[in-house]
């Protein structure tokens, strides 16, 4: 079997670690896929094949689950994932202007990655920090009370 290396990590090793950690049963599928997605940034096809082999579940069912949940990605993502909260509480306190500023800075549509592979722009469901809207999450950092003028400075912190 070919060993795929993603994000500097051995994909097969990541899969095996996740399966051993959670147990090779189908009810652990979502935690297993979440771990793989977290480690590799996305779920490569080779990883799906390996999970299928290890827990004895058809690949079609794996894809059915992986494509259903927003946080699982079957496509490679950029080095940093930007999640913009587009929900009502952020929307009514100026989220649209922040979205425009992000869009102007990155020139990509939601779901797309910048050509240099630095950022992937996504929208997120409400992350529940509505008291400090508008909110932008980059990787695991939450940025609150974001003003359109701050967007460039915030992005500059992520190489």
């Amino acid at each position: 079997m070919t060993v795929a290396v993603k994000n500097g990590k051995d994909a097969m090793q990541v899969v095996r670690t996740a399966v051993v950690h959670h147990g090779a049963t189908r009810d652990e599928l979502i935690p297993i896929l979440t771990d793989i997605n977290h480690e590799l940034g996305y779920i490569p096809h080779e990883a799906v094949d390996e999970v299928s082999r290890l827990i004895g579940m058809p690949k079609s069912q794996l894809y059915s689950v992986a494509s259903f949940y927003d946080m699982l990605s079957l496509k490679p993502r950029g080095r940093h994932v930007i999640k913009f909260c587009e929900n009502a509480p952020c929307h009514v306190v100026g989220g649209r202007q922040v979205w425009q500023a992000l869009h102007d800075a990155l020139h990509v549509k939601p779901g797309e990655t910048t050509p240099d592979g630095r950022f992937t722009l996504l929208t997120t469901s409400c992350i529940g920090v509505c008291a400090v809207g508008p909110v932008v999450v980059i990787d695991d950092d939450v940025h609150g009370n974001v003003e359109p003028e701050q967007v460039a400075e915030i992005l500059a912190r992520y190489e």
Binding site: D27, A88, P89, C130, A131, V132
Partner: protein, 593 residues
Amino acid sequence: MKYFRSHVLVCIDPECLSKGAHEVEDALQDELVAQGLIDEVQVLETSRIGGCSNGPELMVYPEGIHYVGLTADDVPYLVEEHFLKGRPVKKFMEQITVVTDEELGPPKPKEVRVVLRNCGQIDPNNIEDYIAEDGYAALAKVLGEMTPQATIDEVTRSGLRGRGGAGFPAARKWQLCRNVPDSPKYLTCNADEGDPGAFMNRRVLEGDPHSVLEGMIIAAYAIGASYGYVYCRAEYPLAVKTLNIAIQQARDFGLLGENIMGSGFSFDLEVRMGAGAFVCGEETALIASIEGKRGEPKPRPPFPAVKGVWGKPTNNNNVETYANVPQIILRGADWFASMGTEKSKGTKTFAIGGDVSNAGLIEVPIGMTIREVVFDVGGGIKDGKEFKAVQIGGPMGGCLTAEHLDLPIDYESLTKAGAMMGSGGLVVMDDETCMVDIARFFMEFTQDESCGKCTPCRVGTKRMLEILERICGGEGQDGDIERLELLSAQIMKTSLCGLGQGAPQPVISTLKHFRHEYEAHIYEKRCPAKVCRPLIHYTILDNCTGCMVCARNCPVEAISGQRRSVHVIDPNVCIKCGICMQVCNFNAVEVTS
């Protein structure tokens, strides 16, 4: 045990973290070491001290002084003044807004904290803190003195209704599940709080996780369940972490696992994390997701009480419902039933957001009016603007207007007015909000979150969204309002689960109360709130001083004009971003529709 003269609680809620709570905490530790106070003052982490809109926040005990809006640079001064010299620093203290509008009457008794009583008061990562606040005393009472049926009867008498939104009597659900002669039985806790603007459950999980665990163990005893799952959404990583710590500590103390408190009753549970699907808050979809499948709802019956997780009887309640249970057992059903209205007992937590002065989390007795919640507790509308509407009940809820301000917030009154209790999100909107845009917005949300299993929801919401988009885009057609009404009725009648059945609600409620705004968009090609871009125009007025600030900031170079002479916006180039209006120091940019 080590004693400290003072305890400093640092709020590490994600809202405060986003504003540098960790930096302040680190600075505090460093400064206390530098001043030689580290053995006298203990720094602890907690969740939710105040509203969290003005973080980072600290609470200093025993004085009970609340500091807000701190930066790491403020810390040396604060430590020197407060902890070294014993002089609390006024300028960092929370300024309480006093409601002065006489029409509102005197300030009313505001919050009553039952579910939130420990949040911000205790260290959520230390079970002993919870036990010191009578934690697990209710469990001891139930296991030692009460039969499972007596436990159900006590909760029945309290009148507790499901806090997830539908308001089904909690104890009746328990009884149904208990009566099913199948085993094993399972317990699930719905912590998939997905409604935009609703974060009450997050705060409870992060601030007082043991209250939820204790409620679940009591419910499991009453029902006869042997295993449980807390299904928490992946957007709440801190809540998942806190819960896992709490579960491990409860196991270490013999409060979870085999033979709890020597009673012979055994129960254990685990956290299941979602992966970003709103529909998983629907109980049958939640169960499918726990089993590792696509989170698609199933037709009911069979109800989960009969066939739930792994096809076995399952009781599902919301975080807040479980968190109420220990207090009901401990303080009695009569105490709980003394709060609220005739049909809706107890308190309810709400997350107020949008254009309100004090955005944040509150807990009030059920039956308080919308006016009291928005103006007294919420501090009124931001920047002195006019109240226009409040959206209650999340994306399946509805918008209520100024004429509903005196409506009591309870399950029946809200449903009758065309909104619903929902899980407790309250989005307040001022007079600069376009209601058609809001309806479009919610429809975009439900359309995106529709799981795709049933056609009315999958296709119907898409068609409704297309109509709303064209109305906001200035291309609304005669008959669009009627088409929206027809589609709404059909989708509500024929969708499989609550998501589809509730999806048209924002459109129906805005059509009912703001029909004139839809008509203005369609027939006059005008957006009365001046929000919908294709229907608005920016122009520069004669009082323009020609300072050129707008021209320099315009991202598309649509503004021309000589220095010291009135500038002009080229409507063919203008993208209506509104930056010129924001940067103008002379109010010389006007928006019209």
